[in-house]
Symmetry: C2
Subunit: 329 residues, 2 copies
């Protein structure tokens, strides 16, 4: 084959390691939802060679258009990467990404770092970390907070714990994606636990905001006025301030879906049960997310819990301009 043909050059390039190709550090990002995509874009902007993997071809196309590369499997993505970020939904998906067929574990190099950002119980984080340690791969227990907009801006909050080696290998990538990194100690599981405490409160606060604002409507109050008063008073929460506008606008397009808190308060209840810790307020909130999902709004914005209160009480909320996901029925 002539050295000047395309075929030759293509095969030659395949022989080179990816790192040699690009001259840039390689990060794999597994899971290109709104958070993972934002992280991938932030890494690209900071000069990383980013390889993404997702089941969505749309997401892969957007990454490729932005200058990233795509992989068909987590194993392919992780091959040659010094940093693998896993931004999937839960512990089960993380486990599949790592140890399923075509999983990261097949190709990830010793002394690279696996940054695990799914919200999960600390026991799950510990189990995954110990399996990766068999291959001398560092595990950073690194849940994230901040939402899609901050992910896109490279301004996430990361609640991280792990060994000094894990932090050292992850440091430059974390700088690219995060505005704030809480370094919570050496023990895997601490990051996961702190994130669960945040989700415990966030899940209650959203459901409580829905309970209170829908009651306000039932009492005949002017809801924008109630919003103005409460956000300036001791009854305010970050979530009340953030989510109630969705209800006032009648816009249930999911920024964060009901199913996220079905999952996270479910994990919380499992953790609390294992600890013999009663958490009745989180339990009550979980029932409202379950009812909202059961009524067909699981993929809608989590402020849809207000629609459940309205349905249960006859309260009238502002007209719906965007109902969220299309319903089957």
């Amino acid at each position: 084959m002539d050295r000047d043909t395309n075929g030759y050059r293509n095969r030659l390039e395949e022989e080179l390691t990816r790192e040699q190709q690009s001259g840039k550090p390689i990060a794999a990002v597994i899971g290109l939802g709104s958070m993972g995509m934002g992280m991938a874009m932030s890494l690209l902007r900071q000069g990383w060679d980013v390889v993404g993997c997702d089941v969505s071809t749309d997401a892969l196309g957007r990454l490729a258009n932005a200058g990233g590369r795509t992989a068909r499997t987590p194993a392919e993505a992780a091959s040659g990467a010094g940093v693998v970020l896993c931004v999937v939904v839960n512990a089960a998906q993380t486990e599949t990404v790592l140890f399923g067929e075509g999983g990261v574990f097949e190709t990830i190099a010793p002394r690279s770092v696996f940054i695990s950002s799914a919200t999960m119980a600390p026991t799950d984080a510990k189990r995954l970390a110990s399996r990766l340690a068999e291959k001398d791969v560092f595990y950073l227990d690194a849940p994230i907070s901040g939402g899609a907009a901050k992910a896109a801006d490279g301004n996430l909050t990361v609640m991280a714990s792990g060994s000094p080696d894990a932090f050292e290998k992850a440091e430059v990538a974390l700088q690219a994606i995060a505005g704030k990194v809480y370094r919570l100690g050496d023990a895997v599981g601490v990051g996961a636990s702190v994130k669960m405490i945040n989700q415990h409160l966030a899940g209650i606060h959203i459901a409580a905001a829905c309970e209170a604002i829908t009651l306000a409507s039932k009492l005949g109050l002017d809801l924008p006025t109630v919003y103005e008063v409460i956000t300036a008073s001791a009854g305010n929460s970050w979530m009340f301030e953030n989510r109630v506008p969705h209800i006032l606008e009648g816009n249930y397009t999911p920024l964060s879906s009901v199913e996220i808190f079905v999952k996270d308060l479910g994990i919380l209840q499992d953790m609390a049960r294992a600890e013999r810790y009663p958490a009745p307020i989180a339990a009550a909130a979980l029932q409202m997310y379950l009812a909202t999902s059961g009524a067909g709004m699981g993929r809608d914005d989590d402020a849809s819990v207000a629609r459940t209160y309205a349905a249960l009480s006859g309260a009238v909320l502002p007209p719906v301009i965007a109902p969220g996901s299309k319903k089957e029925d």
Copy 2:
């Protein structure tokens, strides 16, 4: 009797109206707890002639030392006052202040204003207002928010509704006590309702803060770190930020007691039941205040709900440096 004797002058002064005596507008303040005392002091600073009434002789002494006058009964306090502020605990106390023996209703002048600041159900506010209307007395439904420090500074938030006449008569006094007055409309009951929505959220948020921070301890997390992360994250609430430091310091000296939310979430549950409105999250929170009061901590700071979670779970909280009220047992 000689006109130059003290006795004569005393009787002469008794003949003059109080307003003629002082040349100042007169405000009666019924209830000199931390909120009422702060309001009385603010009125004094702004040049009002203040007449206070309270069962506590200590409180009356402090008011007198600051230049206020004291009365033995609400009727005596209200006599000659253009503005009567009632800052007691609940609807039942307000009813006694107005219509009990020696009550305000005996002496209050037509076209004066009764400013009612106790947290109560809107139906109670409407009932009290309609009885005062029989005597052509204006009723301002004016719950307050902000705590003792803001009361002392004349910087309360007032959530007020009532007739234009009620607002007009109350206006100058409100300026003396409040940093912000929300004018919520003409209908008595709106102020009470908006305050109850605030208490609904505040009561849940305190109990949720206690549930989450005590779970964090059970999980072995460093609590000051958790506080730092949460207050910078989406799980934050005004109450988490304000109350958790009491737990971290082990200081349960009551700034606001457990009994306040036994009362306010009790009112909320009564209102919700009357409206056929399910409020399961508030109901769960109320159980925790009831348990905390039942265990003997009713007069302690409301962050004592964390001590109930600790007792129920074996979680260890920071050492108690101030247990709150003295226990009987």
